[in-house]
Amino acid sequence: MQRFTCPFCGPRDETEFHFAAEAAKVRPEPAPEVTDAAWADHLYGTDAPKGHAREVWVHLTCGEFFVMTRNTVTRDVADTEALPGRRA
C-alpha cells in the first residue's frame, strides 16, 4: 500500500485518493472562436507522460483537489501542494 500526502490532511493510504486530471490545462479562449478539434483536445487530450508528471488529484475523504508531482514509472511522489488560491 502506497501513502500519498494530502496538503490538508497529511499522509494517508492511496485508496483515499483519486486521479483527476493532468495539471495546467488551460481552457481555450475566446470560446466562439475555438474549433471543434481544439475543444475536443481540451476536453479529452492528455500527454500521459512517462516519468515526471504534474497531476491534479482529489483526496476523497476531505474532498480537496491538489497538485501532485510524481514519477509515473517508479510511482515515487516528489511533492504535493494545494491548488493556487487554496491554503493548506
Binding site: M1, Q2, E14, T15, H18, F19, D36, A37, W39, A40, D41, L43, Y44, G45, T46, D47, A48, K50, G51, E55, T72, V73, T74, R75
Partner: protein, 416 residues
C-alpha cells in the same frame, strides 16, 4: 516455410526432432520499406500479415523495442468474446472473433482456440435486467447472446458459493457460447511466422526514437538501429502509443494504467467456461494446464510501470474468494501487469492522425487481445488504401470532435 502437420511431426520424430527450423526469420532493418509498423505485439504482427496477405505489400517491417509478443500480448488473460452493446462495437469485436475461429487453419499454427463459452453473472435483480439488456442487444446485432438462468448457471459452475448467506448468490446472466480463450503467445508467434513467410521483416530490440516528417508527410523513422525510409507508418504499441504520437506532435485522449492478472497453481479440471461477475468485477477461466487465470479492473493510479499495486490485488483476489470460497486453499503461482491505453469512452482509436501517412491502432484498454485479428486487419486496410474500412470508421479519432462517442463503459459495463 516448413508446413506443420501430423505428417511433419511424425517425420521429425523419426529423425530425433533435429530438423525443425526457426518459425520466423530474425531480420535486420533495410534502408526503405513500403510500410513500417511500430509495435511487435499481436496487433502489429497481424497488421503486417494482412498487409502482405490481403493487400500484397511485400516490403513491410515490424519494429519491436523488446521481443515480439512481450508486451500486453503476453500479459493478458487470453479471453476472446464479442458480447458488447453498441452495433459499432459488436461489428468490430465479432469480426475479430470470426477471424479467430479460422485462424489456426489460416496460419497453419495452432492458437489453441477453445470456445468454452462465457457467462457474465449477475447477483441482483437489477444486474439481471442489465444482462437482459445486453443479451437483447447482442441478439439485435446478430451475435449469439442468450440469458442464462440461475439454476443453469449453478449447474455449469458447481463450485460457486451457493450457501444461503452468500454475498454474491448467482442469479444467472448473459451467456455467449462462442466466447472462449486462446493461447496468447501462439497468436503472436503464428502471425509472426506467417508474416515472415510472406517476406515481412520482424525486427526486435529496435526502439523508435524519432519520426522523419517532411512537408506534413511521414518520410521515415529514426531508430536505435539507424534511420528507415518509409511513407506509411502504423503505430500499434498499446501503452507506448502516447509517447510515439507525441513524436509527431499528436496528443491523444489516452490515460495509461496498469492492469494486473494472476495465475494459481494448477488443479484438476473444475471450470469449463469463462466467468465474469458483475458484482465483484473479478473474472476467471481455467487454463489447459489447470491453472486458474484471473483478473479484474484497472489499477487506480495512472502509470507506465509494468507492475500492479496492492489495493487492486486485494479487490480482485477477494472477489475470487467471494465467488469460490474453496479457492482459499490455492497458492498463487504468479502475478503480472501490463500497461494499457484507456480512452474516455472505453473504445479503441483506429485511423489517421497528424502528418499524412501516419495511422494508429490503440486505446484497446483492458481488452486488446480479443481484438487482435480485427485490429490488424483494419490497420492494414488503412495503411494499404489510406482510407477507412467501414468497421473502423466509427472509431476514428474525430469522434471526439464530432461528439459521436461509443461509450462501452456505460453500454456493456466493462471494467474501465
Amino acid at each position: 516455410m516448413m508446413r506443420y502437420s501430423g505428417f511433419t511431426l511424425f517425420r521429425q520424430g523419426l529423425s530425433g526432432h533435429r530438423g525443425w527450423q526457426p518459425a520466423w526469420d530474425k531480420a535486420t532493418p533495410k534502408p526503405a520499406y513500403d510500410a513500417v509498423i511500430v509495435g511487435g505485439g499481436g496487433h502489429g504482427l497481424a497488421t503486417a500479415y494482412y498487409l502482405a496477405k490481403v493487400h500484397g505489400l511485400r516490403r513491410v517491417a515490424v519494429l519491436e523495442k523488446g521481443w515480439i509478443g512481450g508486451g500486453n500480448t503476453g500479459r493478458n488473460t487470453t479471453v476472446i468474446r464479442s458480447n458488447y452493446f453498441y452495433p459499432e462495437s459488436v461489428a468490430l469485436y465479432d469480426f475479430a472473433l470470426r477471424l479467430y475461429e479460422g485462424l489456426s487453419k489460416e496460419l497453419n499454427y495452432n492458437i489453441m482456440l477453445s470456445q468454452r463459452g462465457m457467462l457474465i453473472a449477475a447477483h441482483t435483480p437489477m444486474q439481471m435486467e442489465i444482462c437482459t439488456r445486453i443479451a437483447n442487444a447482442m441478439q439485435l446485432n446478430g451475435v449469439d447472446g442468450t440469458l442464462m438462468s440461475g439454476a443453469e448457471a449453478r449447474e455449469r459452475l458447481p463450485l460457486l458459493n451457493q450457501t444461503a448467506d452468500a454475498r454474491f448468490a448467482c442469479l444467472g446472466g448473459v451467456w455467449q457460447g462462442r466466447a472462449g480463450v486462446a493461447r496468447h503467445d501462439a497468436v503472436a508467434w503464428g502471425y509472426a511466422r506467417a508474416a515472415s513467410a510472406l517476406g515481412v521483416d520482424i525486427i526486435e530490440n529496435c526502439t523508435v526514437t524519432g519520426l522523419d516528417i517532411r512537408g506534413g508527410r511521414i518520410a521515415g523513422v529514426e531508430t536505435t538501429l539507424g534511420p528507415i525510409r518509409n511513407d506509411r507508418l502504423g503505430i500499434a504499441a498499446a501503452g507506448a502509443t502516447p509517447g510515439l504520437a507525441a513524436l509527431a506532435g499528436v496528443r491523444l485522449p489516452i490515460h495509461t494504467y496498469a492492469l494486473q492478472a494472476f495465475v494459481s497453481e494448477p488443479v484438476k479440471p473444475m471450470l469449463d467456461t469463462v466467468l465474469l461477475y458483475l458484482g465483484t468485477g473479478t473474472y476467471l477461466s481455467q487454463s489447459d494446464k489447470g491453472e486458474l487465470v484471473f483478473g479484474g479492473g484497472l489499477d487506480r493510479v495512472p502509470t507506465h510501470g509494468q507492475r500492479g499495486n496492492l489495493p487492486s490485488q486485494e479487490t480482485i483476489t477477494s472477489g475470487l474468494l467471494e465467488m469460490f470460497p474453496a479457492f482459499g486453499q490455492l497458492k498463487l503461482l504468479r502475478q503480472w501487469a501490463g500497461v494499457v491505453d484507456v480512452v474516455p469512452d472505453s473504445s479503441p482509436v483506429i485511423g489517421p492522425v497528424g502528418p499524412e501517412g501516419l495511422f494508429i491502432n490503440c486505446g484497446w484498454g483492458t481488452g486488446g487481445f480479443k481484438a487482435i485479428p480485427a485490429g490488424g486487419w483494419l490497420l492494414a486496410h488503412l495503411l494499404a488504401t489510406g482510407t477507412h474500412h467501414e468497421i473502423s470508421r466509427p472509431f476514428d479519432l474525430d469522434r471526439f470532435a464530432r461528439g459521436r462517442l461509443i461509450d462501452e463503459a456505460a453500454g456493456s459495463g466493462i471494467a474501465h
